[in-house]
Amino acid sequence: MATQQIFSPLPGIFYRKPAPDKPVYKNDGDAVADTDTIGLIEVMKSFNEVKAGAAGRIVRFLAENEEAVMAGQPIAEIDV
């Protein structure tokens, strides 16, 4: 098993939930498929899904819900 990072593809605001009143997409420890959505990046009022990009298990999130992130910033760690 190797740990790798999921990077934000865009600069913007990172969200862990599809809507404020919805549960988070993924929790620490959740298994993910490579096409699973793990969060959203809001760029100029448009929302873009962030995919896991690899199958594995989420170790932990590195960015918090509603955190401002830069493109290329690591937002989660996964064990693949």
Binding site: P11, I13, M44, E66
Partner: protein, 466 residues
């Protein structure tokens, strides 16, 4: 009470616009900013600047307590909210006044009244302003619904009272269709929502979006004629002009008089806009809503009337009466505004924040660029994509379109993609040149022109003709 120091509770191009108006009136400015806007043009231009929080709008530009604290600490005596953010928040307007400050805009009561769809429709009806005909509440029986549509005429939309997001909408184009669809709609609404209640509303097909600018001082109201903003993508205006290319003089007079009647009925203070749907085939117009703020597209009105709307709204907020009489407001020529957004029309309008590596601007008579850009500026990703507005004015519409093409050719924003190529394509389009469009015109046009727009992505060092 004259305003001496104005706090600008906004960002981007409108903050710059308000700063200019304040400066011309000899008023000092305080610019509030989020951490992401520390290097913004608005901050650079202001006499003072106050950090009000992190990039997220909810924690900065929407943070009422932080903005009020900035006003107190800087000694500002008035707050201009711009558009968006807190501009139409009645609670904020009331809090500003409760803090002993001037809110540059209408009263909290006006904001509340016009922000409530049902109350605004009622106010319109009692001022004799037509609204889209339909049922005022839910209809329980097919007979009651039919009695109503016999008055409104066809086509009509049948909507489930409990529905939303376009679910359960049916369009009936004749009495026959109506009788066929109504029971279906009722049964479906009952099955889907457990509620068979329906609404019926006249469908205005091919409607244009026309809006009237008003200016009031709480006692008197004047109009500054109309703007047409039918070119929209995803309900966002893309290209706006004044006057509308589609109104006859008789309809224009009726429309503007109706806007004044409604604004007067609510003792409106400040700059406001009444939005209408206009059915070109019948000449009928229908009030939609009133925006109780300065709007993005206000410059086209300024260009054709010579009235500085932002200056006037600040003077009125300072307690001065309206100083322009209705018969002094005259239309001269034609003006067009296009929105220069950080979006790539070649890639389905993908947002495109980043650094402006080089900037060249068009000039000459009748060309205005209201923007937040400067060379080397990094456009943050946290707010909307509007970078600026290119506005032209000329003697008539064809000349204005010609000037727009010339000005667009001279606008060079390098380092990020913008909507400039979209406007160049629109300016060359035969329907746009003939003024033949409506609110549902642009989206199919974009689909039909996707291939040619995809080729417009300029190389990083695109040539610019000054």
């Amino acid at each position: 009470m004259t305003i001496k120091k104005l706090l600008i509770a906004n960002r981007g191009e409108i903050a710059v616009r308000i700063n200019r108006a304040a400066r011309e009136l000899g008023i000092a400015t305080v610019q509030v900013y989020s951490k992401a806007d520390k290097d913004s043009l608005a901050v650079r231009l202001a006499d003072e600047a106050v950090d009000i929080g992190p990039p997220q709008a909810s924690k900065s530009y929407l943070n009422q307590a932080a903005i009020l604290a900035a006003a107190q600490s800087s000694g500002a005596d008035a707050i201009h909210p711009g558009y968006g953010f807190l501009a139409e928040n009645a609670e904020f307007a009331a809090a500003v006044e409760a803090a002993g400050l001037i809110f540059v805009g209408p009263t909290a009561q006006s904001i509340r009244l016009m922000g409530d769809k049902v109350a605004a429709r009622k106010a319109a009806a009692s001022a004799g302003v037509p609204t889209v005909p339909g049922s005022e509440g839910r209809l329980e029986s097919a007979d009651a619904a039919f009695a109503l549509v016999e008055r409104t005429g066809f086509p009509v939309m049948i909507k489930a009272a409990a529905g939303g997001g376009g679910r359960g909408i049916r369009i009936a184009r004749s009495a026959e269709e109506f009788h066929h669809l109504m029971p279906q709609a009722q049964a479906e609404a009952l099955a889907a929502f457990g509620d068979g209640g329906l609404y019926v509303e006249k469908l205005v097909e091919g409607a244009r979006h026309i809006e009237v600018q008003v200016l009031g001082d709480g006692r008197d109201v004047i109009h500054c004629f109309e703007r047409e903003c039918s070119l929209q993508r995803r309900r966002q205006k893309v290209w706006e002009e004044a006057p509308s290319p589609s109104l006859t003089q008789a309809v224009r007079e009726k429309l503007c008089a109706s806007a004044v009647a409604l604004a007067r009925a609510v003792n409106y203070r400040g700059a406001g806009t009444l939005e209408y749907l206009y059915d070109e085939r019948t000449g009928e117009f229908y009030f939609l809503e009133m925006n109780t703020r300065i709007q993005v597209e206000h410059p086209v009105t300024e260009m054709i009337t010579g009235i500085d709307l932002v200056r006037e709204m600040i003077r009125i907020a300072g307690g001065e009466p309206l100083r322009i009489r209705q018969d002094e407001v005259r239309v001269s020529g034609h003006s067009i505004e296009v929105r220069i957004n950080a979006e790539d029309p070649a890639r389905n309008f993908l947002p495109n924040p980043g650094t402006v590596s080089a900037l060249s601007l068009p000039g000459g008579d009748g060309v205005r660029f209201d923007s937040m850009l400067y060379q080397g500026y990094t456009v943050p990703p946290f707010y909307d994509s509007l970078l600026g507005k290119l506005i032209v004015h000329d003697r008539d519409r064809p000349s204005a379109i010609g000037k727009l093409e010339r000005a667009l050719a001279g606008l060079g924003v390098e380092g990020i993609s913008t909507t400039k190529p979209l406007h160049q394509a629109l300016a060359r389009d035969a329907d746009v040149q003939a003024g033949r469009f409506h609110t549902a015109w642009l989206e199919p046009w974009l689909e039909a022109h996707a291939a040619s727009l995809a080729m417009t992505s300029p190389p990083p060092s695109a040539k610019v003709t000054p």
